[in-house]
C-alpha cells in the first residue's frame, strides 16, 4: 500500500494529543516564533514562521477534535487538508525546519512548535509528501542499516585502522560490558578519529565497552522524515543487540538527532522502557570526570567557543556537561551570544542536510551562525555533533571563514593525561 492523502490525514489524526490540542488552542498569532527561527530571520519570508508550518496539522485538529470545527466541517466551512496544501507545505515542513526547537522556547503561550512540526511530518510522510532526499536516506537506513549506506565491513575496516593507529583494541560484540558505543555513519566515514578518541578515553578510565557489529548505526532517518514505524524499527535493532549483549549503557555518539532518537524517542517508539540506560558520549565523559577517571594534562591555547547542537542541548538536556568538559581543557572559552539552550541552529539538522533540495537555504540561513561567530571571533569551534560539524564546515567555507572545527570528544582525547 502506497502513500495516500487518506493515510496522511489518518496519520495527522493519530498525532494529535492533549498537548497539541492545548498548543493549537493557545496560539494567538503573535508571530514571536518567527523571530526565533533562523529560517525566518535569514530569509524574511513570513510563510516560514514556525507556527505556520503546522497548518496542515492545525486544520485536522480543528475539524476533527473541536466542537466548533466539527460543526464547521459538517457545514463545509472548515479549511480542508488536500494534496495541494501538503505539497505547498512540504518545503516549509522539511526544508525550512531543522526541528531545532528554538521557537518552542520563545512562544509566550508555551507552544512546543518543534514538536508540532515533528508531528506534522508524520502526516506529510504518510501522505507521500516527504522529500526525495529523506526518502532515500530512510530507505538506506532500513535496507542497508545506515543512511549513508555504511555496512559492517566498512566499519570493521575503520576499526582496524584505528587499532593500528592507536595500538588499542576496539572491543566488538563483547557481552556484559558497561557501555555499548553507537556511531553515526558520518563519524565512521568522515571522522574515524572519534572512535580512536573514545577508545583512548575509555582505556584510561578503565571502563568496559563494546561496539556491535549488528547494530552500530546511531542515526535514525525515521525520526527525521517523520515515520514512527520506521524509526521504531531502527531503534528496535539497537534494543535487541543491547539486550543480547546485556550492556548496562548505550552511548549515543556525537550526533544530535541520534541522541534524540535513542535517548528520548527510543523507548516511546518501541513502546516499553529500555533495560539499559542511554547516555550521550558527553554525559559519559562528564561522569568519568566527576569520578576522577578522566584527567587531562594539557590545555588548548586558542580561544574556543562551543556550538550547542540543538538536539543535544536545547532538546536533549546536555548543556552543562560540555561546558564542564571544555573547562578542563581551556582557559580561553567564550560563549556565543544566545549560547546554551537558546543557541541558534547551524541550519542542517532535522533531515535538512539529507535533503538536497534544501542545500541552498541551509547555506543561506547559516548567516545566523556567522553573525554569532562574528561576534565572538573564536580561534576554533567545538561541537558535539558530526552533522553540525559537517554543516559548519560547509558554511564556513561558503562564507570564507577560516575557523577550525573540533570534536569535543576528540579534543579531550588529545589532552588526556598519561596517568
Amino acid at each position: 500500500m502506497s502513500a495516500t492523502l487518506e493515510k496522511g490525514i489518518n496519520a495527522f489524526k493519530r498525532q494529535i494529543d492533549s498537548s497539541v490540542a492545548s498548543f493549537f488552542s493557545s496560539c494567538v498569532h503573535c508571530g514571536l516564533c518567527a523571530e526565533a527561527c533562523l529560517f525566518y530571520t535569514e530569509t524574511g519570508d513570513p510563510k516560514r514562521t514556525p507556527i505556520n508550518k503546522t497548518e496542515p496539522l492545525r486544520r485536522i485538529w480543528k475539524s476533527e477534535y473541536t466542537l466548533f470545527g466539527r460543526v464547521g466541517k459538517m457545514l463545509g466551512l472548515t479549511k480542508k487538508v488536500d494534496d495541494k496544501l501538503l505539497e505547498e507545505w512540504q518545503e516549509l515542513v522539511y526544508d525550512s525546519c531543522t526541528l531545532c526547537g528554538r521557537c518552542s522556547m520563545v512562544c509566550p503561550v508555551g507552544n512546543d512548535i518543534a514538536l508540532m512540526i515533528r508531528k506534522t511530518r508524520e502526516g506529510m510522510a504518510a501522505a507521500g509528501q516527504a522529500p526525495e532526499g529523506l526518502i532515500g536516506a530512510t530507505n538506506r537506513s532500513v535496507t542497508i542499516g545506515s543512511p549513508m549506506g555504511v555496512k559492517w565491513p566498512a566499519l570493521r575496516a575503520q576499526i582496524r585502522h584505528v587499532e593500528e593507529d592507536s595500538g588499542l583494541k576496539i572491543p566488538v560484540d563483547v557481552e556484559d560490558v558497561e557501555y555499548m558505543l553507537l556511531l553515526s555513519s558520518m563519524e565512521i566515514m568522515n571522522f574515524p578519529e572519534f572512535i580512536e578518541a573514545v577508545a583512548k578515553i575509555f582505556d584510561k578510565a578503565g571502563v568496559t565497552w563494546t561496539i556491535s557489529s549488528e547494530a552500530f548505526e546511531a542515526t535514525n532517518s525515521g525520526i527525521q522524515i517523520g515515520v514512527s514505524d520506521i524509526a521504531a524499527e531502527l531503534v528496535q535493532r539497537i534494543v535487541d543487540v543491547a539486550d543480547k549483549l546485556r550492556v548496562k549503557t548505550v552511548i549515543s555518539p556525537e550526533c544530535g538527532h541520534a541522541y534524540m532518537a535513542i535517548r528520548w524517542d527510543g523507548p516511546n517508539l518501541v513502546g516499553k522502557p529500555f533495560n539499559f540506560k542511554v547516555r550521550h558520549i558527553l554525559e559519559v565523559m562528564d561522569e568519568l570526570r566527576q569520578q576522577d577517571r578522566l584527567k587531562v594534562a594539557t590545555k588548548e591555547s586558542q580561544k574556543l567557543t562551543y556550538h550547542d547542537p540543538c538536539q543535544i542541548s536545547r532538546r536533549g538536556g546536555v548543556i552543562d556537561e560540555p561546558r564542564r568538559l571544555i573547562d578542563m581543557i581551556s582557559d580561553d572559552f567564550v560563549e556565543m551570544p544566545d549560547g546554551g539552550k537558546m543557541n541558534w541552529c547551524c541550519g542542517a539538522g532535522g533531515g535538512v542536510s539529507a535533503n538536497e533540495r534544501a542545500d541552498e537555504i541551509r547555506l543561506k540561513v547559516f548567516e545566523r551562525k556567522k553573525a554569532q561567530l562574528d561576534e565572538v571571533k573564536p580561534d576554533a569551534i567545538i561541537s558535539a555533533c558530526s552533522n553540525c560539524r559537517i554543516h559548519l564546515e560547509d558554511g564556513l567555507e561558503e562564507y570564507n571563514m577560516e575557523i577550525p572545527l573540533l570534536s569535543l570528544t576528540e579534543t579531550i582525547a588529545e589532552h588526556l593525561a598519561e596517568d
Binding site: 492533549s18 488552542s25 514571536l32 509566550p108 537558546m342
Partner: protein, 219 residues
Amino acid sequence: MTEIELLSWARGPGLQIATVIFVAGVVIRIFEIFMLGRKANLAEAKGGEMSGGLKTMITRTIPDRTTFKRSSVTIVSGYIFHIGLFIVCFLSAPHILFLKDIIGFGWPSLPTPVIDAFAVVTIIAMLATLVNRLTNKVMRYLTNFEDLLTWFITFLPLVTGYLAFHRIGMTAPTLLAVHILSVELLLIIFPFTKLMHAFTLFIARWYNGAISGYRGVAS
C-alpha cells in the same frame, strides 16, 4: 425597549445566556483537550515533568533576551495591553463587585482615576497591537478574520467601559447596558476563538515545560 429594560436585560437574562455559553464552551474545550490524552513518557527522566511544567507556566511570562530585542514592539504592546486589561478588569471597584456577586468574595480596588488612566493606556496599547498586526510582516501574514474579530470584541468592552465611565454620547443606563452587552459578546465568542488562550496557555505552558523539564531543560 427602554434604557433600563435594556440594562436589566443585560444584567439579567443577557448575562445568564452569556455565562452559560462561556462556561459551557470553556468546560467543553478543556474536556476536548484533556480527554485526547497523552502517552506516558517511557524514556528515563533526567528532570521533573511536574516541576518543569509548573516552572514554565510562570517563567514563560518573561521573554527571552534576544526575542525581546527582535520583537520589542509586539512584546511591549502586548504586555501593556494584557496588564492594563487585567488591571481594568480585576481591580476596578464595579468589576470586583460583579465578581464578588458570583464568586462570593472580593478584594480591594484601585482608585477610579488610576483605572481610568490604565483604560486609556490599554486602549492605546490595543490600537498599537492592531497597527502592529497590520504592519508587521509576520503578523500580517498570520492574521485571519478571527484575529481581527477577537481584537475588536476585546476592544469593545474597553471602549464602552471608558465611554460609560465618562458618560460620553449616550445616557448612562444605555452606556452601561452597552458595556455589559459588549462583555457578554466577549464571553460568548471566548470559548470558540483564540481568546481561549487565557485558560489554555497555562496548559500549553505546562506541557512545554514538562516536555523540556523531563529532559532536564528549563524551558
